[in-house]
Structure formats: structure tokens, C-alpha cells
């Protein structure tokens, strides 16, 4: 009974992904914004870092996903994150993929957000010599939407002042 209800919930989420569109967000039958990567980046377009909280076990997930990785729950609520955190590890990329060549050398890292989840990204507006594990960073968002598929607006991290 319990499992079939969960599967039904998942089916609802999946079946509606292609159907509804509200301010660019993909919604389910009840008009809720579904916890997908596409919707995560739609929020980024509005300069918001959003995650989802599992209604059942309260685990906060960012980036969001439809099935809680801790308890397999499928009920969720969106939560805005402050976008602040500390640098867990990093590297400086000297030999980048083609589309990033103009930026090299550039720093990337993994940030432990204050609310708990980890998020990777580029670290900008920093002197590469100042990179250090443990430094405080905050999120910012590019104002332009990339032209290439999948057109996700990019977030990045910068030193917290």
C-alpha cells in the first residue's frame, strides 16, 4: 500500500513534466513546482538558490531530486538557501573544456553550504593565490542566459565580504 502510493506519486510527477508550464517552471497536476534540475536552474534565473526538504525525514537536498536519497520519500517542499558556505576542496584548471578556454586558468571547488548540502561550482573574483580550504564563499548568479543547450543560467561562488 505504502509503496504503491509512492509509485503513484512518482508517476504523477513524471507524467506532468512535459505538460504544464507556468512562468517557465514545470508544474505537477496540483500546480506545484516539481523538484527537477530544470526548475532548480529556473530559480537561478531569478537569482535564487533553492533546494528541497523531504516532508517525511526533513533531509535538505540541493540540487533537488524527486526521491529523497535518505528515506525514499517523494513529498517535498522547496526551501531557499542563503548561498553561503565554506570551501571544502578546490583546484585550478589550466587545461579547460573548449567552451571555458577564455577563462583559463580558473578555480573550481566544492562548497559546504551553511544549511548542510555541498554544491560544486566555479570560484570567481578571487586571486588564485588566496584559494584555501575553509575560506568563506557566497553564491552569485550570471545575468546572461547561455545560448547553448540546455540554456541553464550559471551560478558561481565568490569570496564573502
Amino acid at each position: 500500500m505504502f509503496i504503491s502510493e509512492e509509485i503513484k506519486g512518482m508517476k504523477t510527477a513524471i507524467s506532468t513534466i512535459a505538460s504544464n508550464d507556468h512562468n517557465g517552471f514545470i508544474l505537477d497536476d496540483e500546480g506545484r513546482i516539481v523538484p527537477t534540475i530544470e526548475n532548480f536552474y529556473k530559480y537561478c534565473a531569478g537569482h535564487k538558490l533553492m533546494g528541497t526538504k523531504c516532508v517525511k525525514c526533513h533531509t535538505l537536498t540541493c540540487p533537488p531530486r524527486g526521491i529523497c536519497h535518505k528515506c525514499l520519500g517523494t513529498e517535498y517542499e522547496w526551501v531557499e538557501l542563503a548561498g553561503r558556505g565554506v570551501l571544502l576542496t578546490y583546484t585550478v584548471i589550466h587545461f579547460p573544456p573548449t567552451q571555458f578556454q577564455a577563462l583559463a586558468p580558473y578555480a573550481v571547488g566544492i562548497v559546504r553550504l551553511d544549511e548542510g548540502p555541498n554544491l560544486p561550482g566555479m570560484i570567481r573574483e578571487i586571486n588564485l593565490a588566496d584559494l584555501k580550504i575553509g575560506i568563506s564563499l557566497e553564491i552569485d548568479f550570471e545575468s546572461t542566459i547561455p545560448e547553448e543547450w540546455p540554456k541553464w543560467p550559471r551560478y558561481f561562488f565568490k569570496p564573502r565580504i
Binding site: L88, T89, T91, V108
Partner: protein, 391 residues
């Protein structure tokens, strides 16, 4: 002590690894298969081989999907069933496990298992981008995090936590080139110095060019049988006595620990238990040195040393030929080369050569038990096998 075999390798083959200009996967695979067939005169491939299992990472390299029937056709074995597995750089280790299960299930008695990849016709940038597809597109690739970048972040974490040095990383490359110089099938057969590594150009700090394995073309394969009939084909089979596999998140960022590969620990736990061995029982090992840091971490995760002591183990020389536990006698991914789909069964090929005393100048004297460890992606797939000579 003879352990319970799960499957037996009765012959093995490998193509020359390197820049094989004008040769494509199907031809490289046929080159490897020829060596395996020639090495087993008691086997009639058409009469005896019942299925083919192959690993290949990506169609993008040579614009060719559906390679299982293609490879099968090119070795003249149509129309037996052929299966392809994909696990990034662990593709043919996953194929090997699938082949083992097919034998253990009783479905087949004799199968061919292998892998191939063709990479050198593309630019380094092109290859790096295809390899990068094994990382998380939405949160790693999209933000400019290259594949070497992921291992760069792993290395920074290990250095920060344990004081590992760039010289210790460099020693992995130096050792594996030294071993590769003894392997006529290796991509690189020349020695390099610590200074060569340290002064090579930066790729993803602290990883430099010589901390990274090359792009290579190559193929490898094994003839695998049920243990009960192995002696029909050879007096000196090599038995697989343990196998393990585990998976982790595709994104490195979603893990609790960047300095240890959970998949290696879990896969090793399964394989050690099945084989009833301890790390100390292993005489020779082939480990996944896609980047030098990965080999040091593998020492730790496999229990060759304590967590954080990988750098010290290479300082002591324990993993050189002649050391306590020689690692990557083939030259490893670093010097032998890393045609990704071929790597898993190429590691098993080296075990077959070592445990049948055919490894020539790189032979580990008296080797009876060996281990291979193969990672896919940033350790989202981990596979470990344990082998024992079966004569």
C-alpha cells in the same frame, strides 16, 4: 591453500597500446583476440566459445555504437550472443563480472570477455570532453569542472588532510614508467624522472601533465571458462577467486569524503571475503592510476596501508617491482596507456601473465595471488577482482 574458483582464465590477449594510427576498435579487438586464440591451441573458437562480453565507454570517439555484434563479426564468431557493458573507465571490468555471472549461472561454459577504445585520433581537448561525460553534466561539466579537475580536487583534499606531497604523486608516475619500460605492449616504454613530472605543465593543480594517464588506443580480452573444464584448455589456468563491485554518486560533491573511494572499499570487502584473503596475501596488483593521486588512495582503500599513508608507502618503495607488493607492473594506466574500455580486462591480462609466469622482465617471482582494482568516472563505479594461479 587453493581457494574456490568462480571462473578460470585459460588464455588472454592484448593489442599493442598507444597511438595506433589508422586502426579502429574492431581491428584492435581482433588483434587482442588473435593473441588469446593463438595462446590456447586446445580451443577451437567457433566450436567452444558460446558468448562475447565487451566493455566500451563511448560511441563518441569513433562514431560507432552497437559494437558487441561488430567486434564479434570481426573475430569471425557470428552468430553467438554478444553483450556490451558501459561503466566509463571500468566498462570491461563490469563486462568481466557479467561474464563471470553468466558462467556461474550455468548459461555458458566458455566465453570471451574484453574491451576496446580508440582515442588518439581526437585532440586532447576532444578526448578530455568525452571522458568528462562520465561526470555529472548538470553540476560539474556545466560549470567548467573537467575530469582532471575532479581528481585535482581529490588531490587537494588528500594533501590538506594527510600532508601528501607533489613529489609523492610524482613517484607514482616515475614508478609506472619504469615498469612500462619493461612491457613491450605499453604505450610509453621510457623512464621519466621526478623532475620531469614536477616541471611538466599544470593541468588541474596540483596535477600536472605527467600525473595524468595518456589517451591511448587499444583492446584486451580473456577466454573465461567454468573452473571444472579449464584444464581441458590449459595446464596453467588462472582462477578468479573473488569479485566485488559498488557504486557511488556521479557527482564528487555529493560524497562525505573526497580522499577515499567508498566503492573501492566496498568492492574490496566483497572480493576479499569471497576469496578468503587479507591484503597481506596479495603478491601483485594492478590499480587504477588514471591520475597519480588515484593510485595512492587505492593503496589506502585496499588496505595495503593505513588511511593517509599512501604517500609513505611509495616513499618506502613497497610498490616497485622487487618491493613488498609490486603495483602496476604493466606500467599501469599511466605508462601502459588507458584506452578506457580496454583497461579492466587489460589489468586482468597482466594478472594472467604474472600468475602464469609469462611476464618476462617485469615478472614478480613466485606470484600466486593477484588483485585488480578498476574505477569508473570519479569512482562512481568500483570493481575489484582477486586471482590465483590454478596449476
Amino acid at each position: 591453500m587453493t581457494r574456490k574458483p568462480i571462473a578460470s582464465i585459460v588464455s588472454a590477449g592484448i593489442s599493442k597500446f598507444g597511438a595506433r594510427e589508422g586502426l579502429y576498435c574492431r581491428e584492435l579487438f581482433a588483434e587482442a583476440a588473435k593473441e588469446a586464440f593463438d595462446g590456447c591451441p586446445n580451443l577451437d573458437p567457433r566450436r567452444d566459445i558460446q558468448a562475447l562480453f565487451v566493455g566500451m565507454m563511448s560511441e563518441a570517439y569513433e562514431h560507432q555504437a552497437h559494437v558487441a555484434p561488430l567486434f564479434l563479426d570481426w573475430i569471425g564468431l557470428l552468430p553467438i550472443p554478444a553483450f556490451r557493458t558501459e561503466g566509463a573507465c571500468a566498462s570491461s571490468s563490469v563486462a568481466l563480472r557479467t561474464a563471470i555471472f553468466s558462467i556461474a549461472s550455468g548459461a555458458f561454459d566458455v566465453v570471451l570477455v574484453g574491451g576496446a577504445e580508440k582515442m588518439t585520433h581526437l585532440s586532447t581537448t576532444g578526448v578530455t570532453e568525452i571522458l568528462g561525460m562520465a561526470s555529472d553534466f548538470a553540476f560539474e561539466q556545466w560549470h567548467g569542472i573537467s575530469f582532471p579537475g575532479i581528481f585535482g580536487m581529490i588531490a587537494v583534499d588528500h594533501i590538506h588532510k594527510y600532508g601528501t606531497t607533489e613529489e609523492q604523486l610524482a613517484k607514482v608516475a616515475v614508478k609506472n614508467h619504469e615498469h612500462g619500460a619493461l612491457n613491450p605492449k605499453a604505450h610509453f616504454q621510457k623512464r621519466i624522472s621526478i623532475d620531469d613530472v614536477l616541471s611538466s605543465r599544470p593541468v588541474a593543480w596540483p596535477l600536472k601533465l605527467y600525473d595524468c594517464c595518456p589517451r591511448s588506443d587499444g583492446a584486451s580480452c580473456l577466454i573465461l571458462t567454468s573452473p571444472s573444464i579449464a584444464k581441458k584448455f590449459t595446464d596453467t589456468p588462472v582462477n578468479i577467486i573473488g569479485t566485488g563491485q559498488a557504486q557511488d554518486t556521479l557527482g564528487l560533491f555529493e560524497r562525505d569524503d573526497f580522499s577515499s573511494m567508498k566503492v573501492t572499499k566496498l568492492a574490496a570487502e566483497q572480493a576479499y571475503k569471497m576469496a578468503a584473503i587479507e591484503p597481506d596475501d596479495i603478491h601483485v596488483a594492478e590499480l587504477h592510476d588514471c591520475f597519480t593521486i588515484a593510485e595512492l588512495i587505492a593503496y589506502e582503500d585496499l588496505g595495503f596501508c593505513k588511511p593517509g599513508q599512501g604517500g609513505r608507502l611509495i616513499d618506502e618503495g613497497a610498490t616497485y617491482l622487487g618491493g613488498k607488493i609490486p603495483v602496476n607492473t604493466s606500467g599501469g594506466l599511466k605508462a601502459k596507456g588507458h584506452p578506457v574500455g580496454a583497461t579492466g580486462t587489460a589489468q586482468a591480462y597482466e594478472m594472467y601473465m604474472q600468475l602464469t609466469n609469462q611476464a618476462g622482465k617485469r615478472q614478480v617471482a613466485g606470484a600466486e595471488i593477484g588483485l585488480t582494482e578498476n574505477l569508473g568516472g570519479s569512482a562512481s563505479t568500483g570493481v575489484v577482482h582477486v586471482y590465483q594461479r590454478g596449476d
